[in-house]
Symmetry: D2
Subunit: 339 residues, 4 copies
């Protein structure tokens, strides 16, 4: 076996425009269990879209971008169905920005000898492989971008905006989330930005330039995200996976109150997760539980207990073909934040 | 609130013939995680269909029949893609036979006051309701059928065949699994038949007729099922949920050996489940684990970790529209067993 | 590697008498999540013991007997804390009766090459191994017992009673659940008895003696179990795992009603499981859901979401050392059923 | 119902010194499934302690501190069994620092009306309640500490050190993790520090003092944590829950390489989690998967699939009473970082 034998079948991202799931979701609405939950979640998303004043937050944790859903998120932004992205660093840098640089994820197996993978510098995410040598190019590109910026404090959003700008000139694969969000003035936040390939590049940036380097100030992220919540008349959450992005976005309601402005709870919330509510962890806490914290309203909320790659394409295709997004105006919150 | 308020929105069963999931499954084949597992499982099923000598066993546990997938199984039988059914009693009697008598399952909520449901004699399966008074009519019908039969030992298969015969005359809803299986000579086994609405009717039958009643002999079930395995040149398993039906069907390989005939392991096996392999229970044991027992071969096996209502319609619709079943001959194993 | 290399470290069953978990459970009562649930479940069990009129049903599914908890169940019976056992066939025959014949389970690994195990006739349950050649001796012993019985219909309970009688003469390991239950007149039911090593032996018995063999009549099981429920002034359930044993035992409430005697719901119920409620399957359905069916009361019920080997020893040791069982009278329901 | 009715039974933290789990863990070593995994994990921890050169990282996600395990972590630090803590902000600020200020968590129920809780400003974590008005005092205290510091960039570790210093003067409850870690020179890192009660206080700090405020620089955290990894001859991970803390700590191996120093993989790793490996998320990825990334060695690694409150007390008590820690020298990494 050579390294090439492992890295030969690339993951291809599903195109929600290429098939129409309308009749499937319409059937699922009258079924039970996860199928009905999927349809209800889709219907709540439709409400978010139809309420033009509602700002839609996508929160993203887990590896769905590596696992074939990367284009779904890009298409949702292009179709004006997402206004703000709050994500793990891995989703944005190791997966999306990485592919924008021309690299791929590969189909693998969960039953492989990990020592052999290690020998070949192949990283594994369950059944998916990444070439670590390519990932190091990604780290290095982040460092290059950082080296070119003024040595001050940036929110992760500001830094990711620079990554988007970089891609407009250097992208091998057009149509990445980072670039499309940049072009559509959709801000992307990574509240734990350093916990990613970006972290390696940025540590190296600081290590090489003591006293003359930039910072990533997470407080600024929280303030900027809260400013959007304060400016938005209404809001809804589309939560993939949970984690810090989920909690961070929910918390903007409390944060606004702390700095002196009462805002409504998030009016809509849907979450796709395999997590289990019983251990008190954030990823798995139900949306009803969040309502006790004053974060999320309970009228329009739905948990979908599924691994997201199996249901997200159905939801996305339905929304795309239903076309309610055509009447929706772009929020372009990045403009407000950069002003 | 009245009872009617709870029982107003019936579950409607998804029709895999009415939409075409081909392009979705084709996309999922190049994704990761549950989506790819779903595509691989579909491809293994395709192999089972194309190998004309392969007998296909459907094993059924859980409540997917109540939850909107009842017609999927019927359509698979009609399209000659299932040769034997091994199921929980609930799937066959409380759900399928129940609807054949003209009753329905209803869309409900998991967040309901169960004491209120109890007051109204409404039974709940997660988010789905059943009218218990209607279920008692189902119990009673089973008793009527039993009362009309000779007082001897029956396999569950033989008894269910009588239920099918009953439905050819009395069914309100045509197209039930029990009736369609009867008409297509597809045997249905329930290794724990008494653990269902049938149990109530049959206990009453015995209670009222001491010394003059029938038996359900589970040993006979196992022998009959093993006879099919011995007669089939090759075999494959389509496992929904796990439980006794899964284990019972896998065990026919060992059983054949015990009574003196070496048979090949089940050549193909796919399982859809949400269960967790770590507690050593049968439902959750992986197909690889089954191979250590000599039950299932490991070349063509795939676990799909999903709640079945969300992925089964995609698999079924793909297989239906792909059309490989059109060239497949019916096995009609009931004929051999009844001979 | 030889077969012996795999089968060298036997599983040893934990002895709840040898350590005292009282202070641990007392601390857990004031914690959260699974620890508190464990303490609450223990407290409900204490209530069952203190209410002398309460008949306690143990329902057993999964592989905890193979996994080191076999002696826990035996000790609970000896200490008069269990009056009826309803179990999977595997728990009773493949695990308990098997060890009574002098065989062992062995510590193994979930990350083993199952093809190699197959070669050596070693069966695997997650991380535990069984020698299949020894298991075939177990099958054969069942056949021998059957061959010695009159050719009529038996409940599984009646047959298991004969297995207990056999062990009083032939057991290599005393103190098995089957033997101790026999000696203490605690009935054991296996509603899916044939789905076990017993099934192989009994099929062979029928195969070799056409027209002159016994039956296992599951209807009789249900009737006998319901008779206990009707005779018991009050009842409680200790549910390990779920499955058919759980549902079957819960259903006695309905069954009593069907044959004309109103009985109270099961007053107490505790369940230890890793299963997930969201797929509508029986194993995972919550005890609250069961209350909608009129099976279980909701005042004293507790789900403990844990793999049972990790919490059952703590519960058992606490109950044993607390000593409330010393004042409890034995129910000896087998006497009533055999009368 | 008044607010007091909900907040009357405080969670009490289990004291691993007050009971001895040695014989339980010794028994579990010869069982199967989660019990054996728990014993193996304990044995690996023992190895970490006995290898004096090994630096032990505790990574903490989820709500075990709120759920009764807060004192476990403190006792492990006092007994010199933890050298570095990497945690979610919630564990450190909302739970530990919060209780140090004199507040409590309360025993609640998962089946409560969350709207009623909202009315009373009670926050819920599964079955545990927090008084949100007290939490706001916690937010405010963080702001006070920030207001007293020089307006420059801090790692979360540096800021948490100031919180520890604050508690030496103002703590109501002595013995908090934050204070004990401060006093023992054990550094605490929160890579997503702002995603917590601290975030609210720090946003307010920045909001009120434009141009004259501090930053939390997550890059500095990663660099400091990597410096420990580079200075430690050997290392082991004790992972509770997963999340960003797990990944961040694992990644120090790669980070060291990026800035030019080859370091060994983490030699030991144990993880307690309820998460499911199949969705490719970080929390749930197995330790074997991590080895493909070059982060964790696979010789001494063990996943324990359990909700941590149920097994952590057993592990902690065993290690405490075994006493290997008595011969171990303190690492006091905070001294190196502050030098």
């Amino acid at each position: 076996m050579t390294k090439k034998d492992f890295l030969k079948d690339p993951v291809k991202h599903i195109d929600i425009k290429s098939f129409d799931s309308t009749s499937i979701i319409d059937s699922m609405r009258d079924m039970s269990f996860t199928s009905r939950d999927t349809a209800i979640a889709t219907d709540i998303y439709t409400k978010m879209i139809r309420e033009n004043d509602c700002t839609i937050f996508l929160t993203l944790a887990g590896s769905t971008s590596a696992g074939g859903c990367m284009q779904v998120y890009t298409d949702l932004i292009k179709a004006n169905m997402i206004d703000v992205v709050v994500a793990t660093g891995a989703s944005i840098v190791d997966m999306d920005f990485f592919e924008a640089l021309g690299f791929k994820h590969y189909k693998g197996s969960p039953d492989v000898d990990d020592k052999l993978l290690r020998k070949f510098y192949i990283d594994r995410i369950y059944d998916t492989y990444i070439d670590e040598e390519e990932l190091q190019i990604c780290d290095h590109t982040i460092k290059l971008i950082a080296d070119g910026l003024a040595p001050k404090a940036y929110s992760s959003r500001e830094f990711i905006r620079e990554m988007g700008r970089y891609l407009t000139k250097h992208a091998v694969k057009k149509d990445s989330l980072v670039q499309v969000a940049f072009e559509n003035n959709v801000p992307i936040f990574c509240p734990a930005f350093i916990d990613s390939s970006a972290g390696f590049g940025l540590v190296k940036h600081q290590w090489e330039r003591p006293g003359n380097h930039l910072y990533i100030d997470a407080i600024k992220d929280f303030l900027e995200l809260t400013k959007i919540k304060m400016a938005a008349p209404s809001s809804g959450l589309f939560i993939i996976g949970g984690g810090v992005p989920k909690n961070f976005t929910q918390d903007t309601v409390i944060c606004a109150e702390i700095i002196g402005k009462e805002v409504p709870m998030h009016k809509y919330a849907i979450q796709i997760t395999v997590a289990d509510a019983r251990d008190g962890a954030c990823s798995s806490s139900t949306l009803k539980e969040a309502s006790s914290w004053g974060k999320v309203d309970t009228v329009y909320e739905q948990m979908v207990y599924a691994e997201a790659t199996s249901v997200l394409p159905l939801i996305g295709s339905y929304l795309y073909h239903k076309g309610d997004w055509k009447k929706r105006t772009a929020k372009e919150w990045a403009k407000m934040l950069d002003a």
